[in-house]
């Protein structure tokens, strides 16, 4: 079976949290051109933002000499994004729930939770320094009626 070609694809690298907005804007521009709706755009923006923030802050420890790589493929019906940092990885099998009453008043720790709730597929590389996410166009995830 022939593999479908994406409508848009590419790789972006960044090193600081100050560059996250630029990366998200570039991706959102592509989604806009391909007529992804507002809620898909919001969901992808949020998930990518969280993934990049985690990669730079926790993965690369904000070392300006380290990069985070974003690989993306945009199809008419789905978006695949992989974020990879140069860190040692983290234990993705044991992530505290952000809705646990004991952690509700924490200032941080919601990124993975939000990625899980807004993206249709989420998986981590074995080492724990990369995350792959997929959202399907028109997905109900993150919409008010979604369970």
């Amino acid at each position: 079976m022939r593999k479908r070609k994406p409508k848009a694809a590419g790789t972006i690298t960044l090193s600081s949290t100050g560059e996250i907005r630029k990366v998200c804007d570039a991706l959102l521009g592509t989604l806009w051109d391909l007529k992804y709706d507002e809620q898909d755009q919001f969901a992808i923006h949020l998930a990518v933002d969280e993934a990049l923030s985690n990669a730079i802050v926790h993965g690369n420890k904000e070392d300006p000499k380290k990069s985070v790589r974003v690989d993306y493929e945009v199809f008419k019906d789905r978006v695949n994004i992989t974020v990879t940092d140069e860190g040692r990885g983290f234990d993705h099998k044991h992530i505290a729930s952000c809705t646990d009453p004991l952690h509700l008043m924490e200032n941080h720790g919601r990124g993975v939770c939000l990625m899980q709730r807004f993206m249709d597929e989420l998986s981590f590389g074995e080492k724990g320094n990369s995350v792959r996410m997929t959202r399907f166009s028109g997905s109900k995830k993150g919409r008010k009626e979604s369970k």
Binding site: T17, G18, I20, R21, E38, Q39, F42, H45, L46, D49, E50, S53, C98, T99, L104, M105, E106, N107, H108, R110, G111, C113, L114, R117, G142, R143, K144
Partner: protein
């Protein structure tokens, strides 16, 4: 009051102090640090503040902002004040719901509703 802040607009309505964001459409890592500092400074200067954060015009916010709001709430509570949020867009409201922060913050649909009973 508004002259002292770079990122927020502060106004009074009765007993309520209302904060709006100057560059309101996106709240993320680029602007939230200074916004958080200015909101905290306002609270620290006003014991017993009845504070409303008006999200009118905010189209997007990252989870960093949620952290700043939690810090703000702690400061307001420590000063025996009250905090309400209002005019939160539906997509962003879902973020509060998913993270269960809608159980921590008092959220009103409009500014008038937030001011009422303060």
């Amino acid at each position: 009051m508004g002259k002292d802040f770079n990122t927020i607009i502060v106004e009074k309505r009765g007993d309520a102090t209302i904060i709006r964001f100057k560059q309101s459409d996106i709240l993320d890592q680029i602007n939230i640090q200074e916004i958080g500092e200015e909101m905290s400074r306002l609270v620290e200067e006003t014991r017993g503040i009845k504070l409303i954060v008006d999200f009118k015009g905010v189209e997007y916010l990252s989870s960093t902002v949620l952290g700043k709001l939690i810090t703000l709430k702690r400061k307001v509570d420590a000063q025996s004040g009250k905090l309400r949020l209002c005019n939160i867009k539906k997509t962003i409201l879902e973020v509060f719901s998913i993270t269960k922060l809608d159980t921590i913050f008092e959220i009103k649909p409009t500014l008038d509703a937030a001011v009422a009973g303060f």
